[in-house]
C-alpha cells in the first residue's frame, strides 16, 4: 500500500462515518493536531518525578538514619501500647508494632537493609553478568557454549526456590543473601551483555582497534563495555525492583536476616495474625515495598526509553 503515510495512520478495522466536516485548507494549529501520545507522555513524566522523589526520600532516611531523632528499632516505646495505630501527633507517626516498637524506626532500618542488599546484589550481578556475557559474546565458540549451559542451569530453578536452597545451607547473613540474590540476576545480565557485545563487535571502532592490533582485554574494556553498560542500566533497575521483592519474600518466610534486625517482609509476617483488627501493621510495610518497587520500575522504564530501544525491541 502507499508508503507516503507515516505511522500515525492506524489500522482499518473501523472506518468511522464522516459527518462532512469542513476541510482544513492549512495545517491545523499545533494543539489541533491530536496525537494520542500526548497525555501518556505527561503521565510518564509525573510518574518519573514521583518515583525519583520517593527514592530520594528513602535514600535520605537510609543514609541519615543514625542522625535522626528516632528511637532504636529494637527499643520498646514507653507510654504507647503495642499495635498502636498511626496518628499525626508526635512522637510515633506510624504507630507501634506487635511488641511495642516504633514502626517508623523499623521501616527506616528495614529500608536500609533492603536497599543495601538490593544495591549490593545488583552490583554484583551486573559485574559477574557483564563479565561472563561480554566474554561469551566476544570470544564465542566453546566459551559461549559453556556459559550458555551455566546460565540455563541457573534459570532452570525458580528464583525463590534457589534462594531457599541457599538459605537451607548457608548462614543467614548479609553476604550469603547478597551472593544468592546476585546469582539470580547473572543469567539475564549475561544474556544482555552477550547480545549487545555481539551486535557491537562488528562496529567500526572495534574493528579499527583490532586492526591496530589492540589486545583483547583492551578492546573489551575500552570499545565495548561503555556501550554495553549504558544499555544494561535500565535492566539493572528492573532487577533491583525484583530483588527487593525477593528479599522481602525471604524475610516473610523467616528465612532472611534473623531478628532483631528489622525487615519489611518480616514486619508483614509479624502483622499477619492481626490482619483483621490492625490492618495497618501489614499494609504500611507492604506499601513501602510497593512504592519502592514501582519507583525503581518507572526509573528503569525511563532509562529504557532513553537509551535502549534495541535490546528490548519495540516499545510495547
Amino acid at each position: 500500500m502507499s508508503t507516503t503515510f507515516d505511522a500515525s495512520v492506524t489500522g482499518v478495522i473501523a472506518p468511522e462515518e464522516t459527518d462532512g466536516t469542513s476541510f482544513p485548507t492549512t495545517s491545523p494549529a499545533p494543539d489541533g493536531a491530536v496525537t494520542p501520545v500526548a497525555p501518556l507522555v505527561r503521565h510518564r513524566q509525573i510518574a518519573l518525578w514521583l518515583s525519583l522523589g520517593w527514592i530520594g526520600i528513602v535514600v535520605f532516611f537510609v543514609v541519615f538514619a543514625g542522625l535522626l531523632p528516632i528511637p532504636r528499632y529494637d527499643a520498646i516505646i514507653e507510654g504507647l501500647k503495642p499495635r498502636a495505630a498511626p496518628h499525626l501527633g508526635f512522637p510515633e507517626l506510624l504507630g507501634t508494632d506487635t511488641l511495642g516498637r516504633s514502626v517508623a524506626s523499623r521501616l527506616i532500618y528495614g529500608a536500609r537493609q533492603s536497599l543495601t542488599i538490593g544495591v549490593a546484589s545488583t552490583a554484583l550481578a551486573m559485574l559477574a553478568g557483564l563479565t561472563i556475557g561480554s566474554l561469551a559474546g566476544y570470544f564465542r565458540g566453546p566459551i559461549d557454549a559453556a556459559v550458555s549451559v551455566l546460565l540455563d542451569a541457573i534459570l532452570s530453578i525458580p528464583g525463590l526456590l534457589l534462594l531457599l536452597a541457599i538459605a537451607a545451607v548457608g548462614q543467614r547473613n548479609i553476604p550469603t543473601i547478597v551472593v544468592g540474590l546476585a546469582i539470580l540476576g547473572v543469567p539475564t545480565f549475561a544474556r544482555l551483555a552477550r547480545a549487545t557485545t555481539l551486535s557491537l563487535v562488528d562496529r567500526e571502532h572495534v574493528m579499527a582497534a583490532k586492526a591496530m592490533g589492540a589486545r583483547h582485554h583492551r578492546i573489551i574494556l575500552r570499545e565495548l563495555l561503555p556501550d554495553v553498560v549504558l544499555r544494561i542500566l535500565s535492566y539493572a533497575f528492573f532487577f533491583l525492583a525484583a530483588i527487593i521483592v525477593v528479599e522481602a519474600s525471604l524475610s516473610f518466610l523467616r528465612l532472611g536476616i534473623p531478628p532483631p534486625q528489622p525487615s519489611w517482609g518480616a514486619m508483614i509476617n509479624d502483622g499477619r495474625p492481626d490482619l483483621q483488627t490492625h490492618p495497618y501493621l501489614v499494609f504500611i510495610p507492604a506499601a513501602c515495598i510497593v512504592f519502592t518497587v514501582a519507583a525503581f520500575t518507572v526509573i528503569g522504564d525511563w532509562l529504557r526509553r532513553r537509551f535502549d530501544a534495541v535490546s528490548f525491541g519495540a516499545a510495547g
Binding site: P36, S156, A168, V290, A314
Partner: protein
C-alpha cells in the same frame, strides 16, 4: 534437523548435570553435621558414624555425585532426614496441590488476558486501554504476597458478615471433596493470576497491534468479514505464538515459584514442602525438590519450543 536435536539434547543433559552437581555440593556447604538433624542433638558418636556411612557423607564429592545420579536414574530422589521416608513420596503427596494451583492459574489468566489483549489492541489508546495500562503496571509492581494479603483482607475479613465467605487457609483433596477444594483454591488462584494477567495481556496486545496492521487483515475486511470474526479468527492466531510460549514457560516456572502463595494460604504443595524442609534443615528433601523442579522446567521448556514449531506453519517450513 537431527543435528539440532542432538545439540539440544546435549545441552539439556549438561544443564541438568550442572544443577545436580551443584546440589550435591550443597551438603558440603551445610554448617554443622546433618547427622544431628536426623538423629537429634543427643546422638551418640556411633549413631553419627552409622548415619555417615548410610548416607555416604564421608565419601568424596565426585563419588557422592555419581551415586546421587544413579539414584535419580532409578527414580530415587533420596530419603528425608526428618521423616525417613523417600523424598519421592513427599513430592508426590505435595504435587497435586501445586499442580492444581498452577494449572488453574494459567487457565484463568489466559481466559481473562486474551479478551483484554484483543480489545486493547483493537482500540489502543482508548479510555479502557489507558486505564488498563495503569492497572496492569500497578499489579506488576505488587509482590505476590501483598496482592494475596489484600485479597485475604478484603474477602475473608470484610465479608465475614455475608453467608458466603472464602476460607482463608486450608485444603481438601480434589478427590475427597471437590466443592471444598475449589472453595479453598479460589483466592490463591486469583492472587497468582493477578500477576500473570498483565504479562499475558501486554504481550498479546503488542503482537495483535502488529498483526492488525498486516495486509491480510485489510484484505479480510475487504471480503466483508465482521470485526469480531477478524479479531478472533484471523488476527488472534498469528498473534498468539509468543503468548503461548510465555504461558508454557510460566507454567513450568510456577511449579516452584508459587512458594509464597502456598505458604500464605497453607496449601500443602511443593513450595510449602520446601519451606518446611528448609526450616527443619532437611537437606535431602530440598535437594530432591530442586532437582525435580529443574527437570520439569527443562522438559516443559523443550515441549514449548516444539509446540511453537507446530503452531506456526511458517516456522515449520523454515525448519524443513
Amino acid at each position: 534437523m537431527p543435528r539440532l536435536i542432538a545439540r539440544r539434547l546435549a545441552h539439556i543433559v549438561l544443564v541438568l548435570l550442572v544443577v545436580s552437581f551443584a546440589l550435591t555440593f550443597l551438603v558440603n556447604l551445610t554448617p554443622g553435621d546433618p547427622a544431628y538433624s536426623i538423629l537429634g542433638e543427643q546422638a551418640t558418636d556411633e549413631q553419627v558414624a552409622q548415619v555417615h556411612k548410610d548416607l555416604h557423607l564421608d565419601d568424596s564429592v565426585p563419588s557422592r555425585y555419581g551415586r546421587w545420579l544413579s539414584d535419580i536414574g532409578e527414580g530415587n530422589f533420596g530419603t528425608s532426614y526428618v521423616t525417613k521416608r523417600p523424598v519421592m513420596d513427599a513430592i508426590t503427596e505435595a504435587l497435586p496441590a501445586t499442580a492444581e494451583l498452577v494449572l488453574l492459574t494459567i487457565l484463568l489468566s489466559l481466559a481473562v488476558a486474551i479478551p483484554i489483549g484483543v480489545y486493547t489492541a483493537y482500540r489502543p489508546d482508548s479510555r479502557f486501554d489507558r486505564f488498563w495500562v495503569l492497572v496492569s503496571s500497578l499489579f506488576v509492581s505488587l509482590p505476590s504476597f501483598v496482592v494475596a494479603l489484600v485479597l485475604v483482607y478484603i474477602f475473608a475479613l470484610l465479608l465475614q458478615n455475608f453467608p458466603i465467605h472464602f476460607p482463608v487457609t486450608g485444603w481438601e483433596r480434589l478427590t475427597d471433596s471437590p466443592g471444598e477444594n475449589l472453595w479453598y483454591i479460589t483466592l490463591p488462584v486469583i492472587a497468582l493470576s493477578l500477576q500473570q494477567i498483565p504479562q499475558f495481556a501486554r504481550l498479546l496486545r503488542a503482537d495483535m497491534i502488529a498483526t492488525l496492521h498486516e495486509d491480510y487483515i485489510l484484505a479480510a475486511r475487504s471480503k466483508g468479514v465482521s470485526t469480531r470474526r477478524i479479531l478472533f479468527r484471523h488476527a488472534l492466531r498469528p498473534s498468539s505464538f509468543s503468548l503461548v510460549t510465555l504461558a508454557g514457560l510460566n507454567l513450568g516456572h510456577l511449579i516452584g515459584g508459587a512458594v509464597i502463595i502456598e505458604t500464605l494460604f497453607a496449601l500443602p504443595g511443593i513450595g510449602s514442602l520446601t519451606v518446611n524442609s528448609v526450616l527443619s534443615k532437611d537437606i535431602a528433601v530440598v535437594q530432591g525438590v530442586v532437582m525435580l523442579v529443574a527437570i520439569v522446567y527443562v522438559v516443559v521448556n523443550t515441549l514449548v519450543d516444539v509446540t511453537y514449531g507446530y503452531l506456526d506453519p511458517r516456522v515449520r517450513v523454515r525448519k524443513a
